[in-house]
Amino acid sequence: MRPTFSIIFFTVVSGAGYGLWLLVGLAHALVWPGCMLDPATGTVDVQVSVCRMPSTLTLAWAAGFLLVSAGLLSSLAHLGQPRRAWRALSQWRSSWLSREGIAALLAYVPATGLFLIWLGQQSPGHLVPALILENETLVRVTGALLAAASVVTVFCTANIYACLKPIRAWHNRLVVPAHLAFAALSGMLLLWALAALPRWDLMPAAQETVWSVLLPFAVIVLAVISAAIKLAYWKQIDRPSGLRTAHAIGLDALGNVRSFEQPHTQENYLTHEMGFRIARKHSRKLRMICLLAGFATPAILALLALLLPALGAFAAWLALLAGMSGIFLERWLFFAEARHAVMLYYAAHGD
């Protein structure tokens, strides 16, 4: 399958954005209230009876918003008629693409909720009634909804591919777990890198330690899980399907069927879109690069950061760079290595 830039960019970047939103949502749902210290006094601000969102999470929310939005806009660039994109929200009963569109838009609702809560925290009592800001349950539920909507959106994206039976490498039970794992990993890499940036608030010392240990540790766990899924996936798609041209035309019994003339002298839409074969020549090396850059490097850097906390910021940003390059390459291979059944008619491969 032809790796189209707009789709690769969309799935990787929006995946990272939803991964980040998943973590922001989980942080609000599980560890709230993570009361920040008053920067002036260095103690818990008792005047403001409201807990503040840690600045790292604020940044993460904003980065998630940018990535998700950029990804969704990029997906529109792939369309032949982008102005009709709103129609894609109508067929959720049968279409994963439609479900994805709806989930993607719904995720903006709790995301906006968290934004309003943050806005309210900046000047308590003015924009958002204190009653809402102090309502811990409401904040937790909003966070949980954002986490859930992020997972559901990535799940739908992955199922767009997983439901396509003619593409054996996509109609595979590991496609959905892989997309979810890569979204979580890229989100975690981003959060780790953002946490290494200077903050404009003070975090209680105990929390600070938890963050600096928890994030690299989570990166290691997710990198290992992602690599394991991808290795198992490659092993599965490397098995020959045994399908041949004779089978595609329904005459397996005739055995040796060879195409001696194409239906047309030029490339057509089908051969252009589904007959992509440039990558396969180097797929082994590219897979190795993907494993090293995408999973091994971030895991090793995270381990380094745990052992030598002074290197934390450097390791985090290097891990993000390597990890995202690896995930981009993974997504490129996901397309480039996938073979479509229609190419059997062109006798282009034995699939």
Binding site: H78, Q91, R93, T245, L254, Y269
Partner: protein, 291 residues
């Protein structure tokens, strides 16, 4: 609505005879001609008179060579066994590819393997499946299957050109028009078959009308008494790649055995005669005739 109708009243479709198709591409050309001016809008080509013309065709005619027994038997001893075990043709890169596990052995063949290499022309178009994934994956409702006759269509005013339906079709029935930004496909000439301004005899898809060898037949495959259904029953018509579960409506008729006397399975066995039981005269005749 991209949800499928529970059942369609009729199952209109094509029956394509691989025995008589001569690969002249008349169906493809007639289809392009009719549909370029049809009610679903034009089928524009990019660079039509230039070096790299490209555009949507609803019909594509492939041409294959079926290896004959002679090809399979000639050469090294091992070659025949490997080729008969069902392999891709030898290529310059790999003269004898490693056998694939699921390759079906030829001895089960319901079709006699031709003595000599045979050409097989294979017109490929939309099969108007009963449960097509191209319809259910459509996010906009532009793709739909008609409940009244089972024709699968694209509403080109609703299509956003996401191309997911083309990915979902293993038969390559859908092609994206880069010029129009929408997906296009065979309409089974829905603007001909119900067209009352045409003579009744002309109310058939353009490809069927154009075929000079009558290799294409149009009718209701849901009605067991229809001419096309009878033809399918008589000739052992089959559906393409049924394992995908999309239940194609169109049927293909397999090539008939070649009238070639050396046809692999039709070859008459030489009957053995016990000459000892014959009278001396007949024994002599047998000896003379056996020379």
């Amino acid at each position: 609505m991209t949800s499928l109708p529970a059942a369609t009243t009729r199952k209109l479709g094509l029956v394509i005879d691989l025995d008589t198709c001569v690969g002249c591409h008349a169906c493809a050309v007639a289809c392009k001609e009719w549909n370029d001016g049809g009610s679903f809008g034009p089928l524009p080509d990019a660079d039509p008179y230039g070096k790299e013309p490209s555009g949507v065709w609803f019909n594509r005619v492939h041409s294959y060579e079926v290896a004959g027994i002679e090809n399979r038997e000639s050469g090294v001893g091992e070659k025949r066994e490997r080729l008969v075990s069902g392999l891709a043709f030898p290529t310059p890169d790999s003269p004898f590819p490693v056998p694939e596990p699921s390759a079906r052995p030829i001895p089960d063949s319901p079709f006699p393997i031709p003595a000599h290499a045979m050409s097989l022309h294979f017109p490929r178009s939309c099969l108007h499946c009963e449960t097509p994934a191209c319809v259910t994956v459509c996010p906009t409702g532009a793709s739909y299957k008609r409940a009244e006759d089972g024709i699968v269509l694209v509403d080109e005013d609703k299509c956003i050109g996401c191309q997911l339906c083309a990915w979902a079709c293993p038969y390559g029935a859908r092609e994206f028009s880069a010029q129009r930004g929408v997906m296009q496909k065979c309409t089974l000439c829905v603007d001909r078959i119900y067209n009352e301004t045409l003579d009744e005899a002309d109310r058939q898809p353009a490809c069927v009308m154009a075929c000079p060898t009558r290799a294409r037949h149009f009718g209701d495959l849901g009605d067991a008494q229809s001419d096309v259904s009878k033809l399918v029953a008589e000739r052992g018509g089959y559906a393409l790649m049924p394992e995908f579960g999309y239940q194609p409506v169109n049927r293909y008729l397999p090539p008939r055995p070649r009238r070639d006397a050396s046809c692999a399975q039709a070859q008459p066995a030489v009957e053995a005669i016990d000459t000892a039981q014959l009278s001396p005269l007949l024994r002599w005749v047998d000896r003379v005739l056996s020379r």
